[in-house]
Amino acid sequence: MVFRDVLNSGKFVVTSEVAPPKGTNLDNLRHHIDLLKDKVDAINVTDHQSSVMRFPSIGGCLAIKEQGGEPILQMTCRDRNRLALQAELLLAYSRGIRNVLCLTGDAVPVGDHKEAKGVFDLDSVQLLKTIRLLETGKDLGGNDLDGAVEFCAGAIVTPEANPIEPQLIKFEKKVEAGAEFFQTQGIYDLDNFGRFMEYARQFPVKVLAGIILLSSARMAKFMTENVPGIFVPQNLIDELAAAPKGEALSRGIEIAGRMIATLKKDAICDGVHIMAIGREEVVPDILAAAGM
């Protein structure tokens, strides 16, 4: 089933993601794709995540297609101007990629090519609009396309952002620009997320809660202190810290599984997006812990 139909089927949707390698050795990437492709509804491929130069997102999506999975092409506005972004959408469509996640992109100085020029010719809202425009058979220059595109377009939102209102305004702009689904930044506080969902429910979009695997108490603390929009409640940090030596990761898998199970049981949102960040091989364990 194509991803848009899955989103609209009423089923609890599960997506996950893989990160392309720095280099041309695709063994690991292909291994992760094989592990995930039948366990999740679609797989995101990150686009130079954290502004670190890697094998391109579209290359990873093509590998997913070859291996029989459903890819979600992550596209940031950091590295390409409007010509290059539109061209890549044409290429993606022509090769059977039907899902795009539109992001602004991390800042250049956080990555590994600190002196590069950040492009940001478009932003995430404008990129969503561009997709909808290309679908009408026109490009941003007002010219006709010989063969248009059609995408299931998504975006991201950060339910833990502080202050939250600017974030919600941007969320609504993304909805108006044509976003059909949202994958959220990692969430851990289900009460706060529930409040966000009460608000988000008024819009005709599907929301997949971001689940980032916690691998240790230290990592959880680090994320709370350093990653924008991430807040890990103290009781989860304590739970990880209390795990016997060598078992923090399995405790993290348990926590992720438990959260997914609750989100699903209480029908809080439409699905989850699982980010295992370098530990993709445990995604099936997380799903098993969630009873899925």
């Binding site: 602004t104 991390d106 950040g118 478009l122 404008q126 924008p228």
Partner: protein, 214 residues
């Protein structure tokens, strides 16, 4: 408005002067004096450093405002000393370097890097407020410029990197979009933040940019 400059690493200046044994130094009495990068004291310091290097400094002058047309007269006044030099080392911003090069046949070497154009918020603290984008949006952003104050120059609201009012590139730096949000909210104009801004025109005046008053 001030042109913000920083002295180049001395090794770079040394390298650029490698082929010249006699140097004339020019400073500016306006921005680089205020920035302490090209005033009377910095020009004197540079003279001493060049002399230590074994260069002959044939003269020096601090022009009141190096970027304006009075500079031509100052160059004329100093022409004997300038003619005695193999090059002119310029401790003004790049506008001054351009201006000088109009009047000199000698090679003109900048000693400073021109960083940005800024306002002085508090004494000694300079803050870039405008990047001369050609399409001013300040009316819709509560007079905070998203092109310069936002690291990514975003016009449709904050990115996902904003954190407790700070920018993802620097925990000390305010997120422009939090500031814009707060000020628009105070003004009861948050509806402006909901407005969609289409892709910007980067060719308002195609580069190189020029303008002639009719």
């Amino acid at each position: 408005m001030k042109s913000i400059t920083k002295q180049k690493p001395f090794d770079e200046i040394k390298e650029q002067l490698a082929d010249f044994d006699r140097v004339f130094i020019v400073g500016c009495g306006t921005c680089t004096t205020m920035l302490k990068t090209g005033g009377v004291d910095q020009v004197a310091e540079m003279r001493e450093k060049l002399q230590e290097l074994g260069k002959r400094v044939s003269g020096e002058v601090v022009i009141p405002t190096a970027c304006d047309e009075m500079t031509e007269a100052v160059m004329k006044e100093n022409s004997p000393a300038i003619e005695n030099a193999a090059c002119v080392l310029v401790m003004t911003c790049a506008l001054g370097v351009h201006r000088l090069s109009l009047y000199l046949d000698r090679p003109v070497i900048p000693a400073l890097d021109t960083l940005f154009i800024a306002m002085e918020d508090t004494p000694g603290y300079f803050h870039e407020v405008c990047a001369q984008c050609g399409q001013c949006v300040l009316g819709e952003t509560a007079a905070i410029c998203p092109i310069t104050a936002c690291h990514k120059g975003l016009v449709n609201g904050p990115c996902g990197g904003t954190n407790n009012g700070k920018c993802e590139v620097d925990k000390e730096k305010d997120c422009a979009w939090t500031l814009i949000y707060q000020r628009l909210k105070e003004q009861g104009r948050l509806d402006l933040m909901r407005r969609y801004f289409p892709p910007r025109n980067y060719q308002v005046v195609p580069r190189p940019r020029t303008l002639k008053i009719p």
